[in-house]
């Protein structure tokens, strides 16, 4: 279990001698075996926060407890030992270019015979499915392969925690998916606690069960991923959720004056967002029939997040203004959020 309490970390900016709050009073608990996402725009302080877990950054104040042990009070030697149980992988992989894949993975192994090291390295390379590259140098590998090697190296000393600092941000979407799948498998196989730092909502959506949203050094929202996705509270969170949904394209269409979204008099355009996990009812065709309005679907996007459906549609209502209101009320009663985008009724 990782327990962060009231973590504060300031950096002195050289320009005006004003301290910059990189992390400003953050408390966070991450349970064993969780995959926990920390999402934020660049500069939000998430990279600094994750470095406070293994004390690559020492917090100015606050407490960092891992399995009940206060990390900030450890002596240097104890800290080095503790760090071997907290693996970390990076956006730029950080493999040692003068060492082969084998030597890179062997780097953190200490106090073992040659045979033991060889056995362990091969085990690890098997685990991340890259055994055939044992004697290659990092410069000969693709980004995805490099990250696999980095994961093997991070797991060398059987850590209980794996910190991923933008680990997929330098990878293409397909490779990202395969690395995320690998992390998911490792989480199950080794009961590894994984902390994922990212600016990509896709990543959180893909593998995290719980997440925290960071902005300006603070956690502004946290909880299980489905709740964050379906009912984002903070504007920054809403922004993030929007980046992953096709429903935000409607704004672009309106801005570009697309004929697709030109309303005729009497029409109303709205975004219907499903808040509850159940979108199996035929909501559109039912409302259309029951209230005698035309409902034209412009865009639709429903996704699976943490095993539940999240998403919605952008529709244009056409019909008697009163009947449109009743349809909207019906949706409210079904726990569907209706956001009016344009109204050309009056």
């Amino acid at each position: 279990m990782i327990e962060l309490e009231h973590i504060v970390k300031n950096f002195n900016s050289d320009k005006n001698h004003k301290a910059v709050h990189a992390v400003n009073d953050v408390s966070l608990t991450i349970n064993d075996g969780d995959i926990y996402g920390i999402i934020g725009f660049s500069g939000a302080g998430k990279s600094t926060l994750v470095r406070c877990i293994n004390l690559l950054e020492r917090p100015d104040s606050g407490s960092v407890k891992i399995d009940g042990v206060e990390m900030t009070k450890l002596k240097p030697k104890e800290l080095y030992k503790a760090r071997t149980k907290i693996g970390m992988i990076f956006q730029q992989f950080n493999l040692m270019p003068s060492r082969t894949v084998f030597q890179n993975v062997a780097y953190p192994l200490k106090g073992m015979t040659k045979e033991q090291i060889q056995k362990r390295v091969r085990e690890l390379l098997n685990l991340v499915e890259i055994s055939d590259k044992e004697n290659s140098y990092p410069s000969e590998l693709s980004g995805g392969q490099k990250q696999r090697v980095a994961i093997a190296r991070a797991l060398a000393n059987d850590p209980t925690i794996l910190l991923c600092d933008e680990a997929t941000s330098a990878l293409d979407p397909q490779t990202t998916t395969s690395i995320l799948q690998l992390l998911k498998d490792l989480n199950k196989k080794l009961n590894l606690t994984i902390v994922v730092i990212t600016h990509e909502m896709e990543v959180v959506k893909n593998i995290c069960r719980k997440a925290a949203v960071m902005d300006a050094g603070k956690i502004i929202e946290s909880g299980d991923v489905f709740t964050i996705f379906s009912t984002p509270q903070h504007p920054v969170t809403k922004n993030f959720v929007r980046t992953t949904s096709n429903l935000s394209k409607i704004e672009t269409l309106i801005r570009d004056d697309s004929p697709m979204v030109k309303l005729k008099p009497g029409e109303l355009m709205a975004r219907l967002v499903y808040i509850h996990a159940d979108v199996s009812e035929p909501l559109i065709s039912y409302a259309s029939r029951a209230f005698d309005v035309e409902i034209n679907i412009i865009l639709a996007d429903v996704e699976i997040v943490a095993g539940s459906m999240v998403g919605g549609t952008v529709v244009i209502f056409n019909g008697d203004p009163e009947k449109i209101n009743r349809a909207i009320e019906y949706y409210h009663s079904k726990n569907i959020r209706v956001e009016v985008i344009q109204d050309a009724r009056a």
């Binding site: 990076f90 040692m96 910190l163």
Partner: protein, 225 residues
Amino acid sequence: MPELKILLPNLMKRLPEFWKACGDTLLMEVWAGSIVFVFGLIFGIILTVTKPGGIMENKTIYQVLDKIINLFRSIPFIILLTALMPLSRFIMGTAIYVRGVIVPLVFGATPFFSRQIESALAQTDKGLVEAALSMGSSPFEVIFRVYLRESLAPIIRAITITIISLLGLTAMAGAVGAGGLGDFAIRYGHDRNMIDITWITVIVLVLGVSIVQWLGEYLARKNTH
């Protein structure tokens, strides 16, 4: 070889002296070079790890070392040679011959080599250091297993450049009675206008520099992946 006697009349008359001059130059290179290597490497490492943001950040040590290096780098070598004569006598017992110039050679080349090492180590990706620390490496492990190992190629290049610049200093040291090729060329080639001696000295030095340069580049490449 009678042709050589016609082509290089003055040199052929002084062959034993020429070989001794070559030997003296080599001796100065090896002695001063070895000491410079040890001190420069240590200072370069200290600069790297104690500088702001380094893994053993220490403002005082960094500032003091930084200033001392700048001080010695700004003194022209010919002045350093004469200024350090008392120290030389104290440490080596003499201020002339090969023994007498080792001290000024070390003082002249160490600051240069320290800076070369500093900039070689600065090429190490900060991410590698961070990764090593995250795996539980101590600062000393980071120095030996990351900094020195991962910047082997730039370190080899730094050594090459320093050996070559040290060769220039040994020639200058000849002026205060150190012996060696510089002294040989000045005494005969310049003072007595024996042009063949000047030319041969130049050729030997160019050959020496080329071999060092080639060897350095070869080793650096071999260590780049």
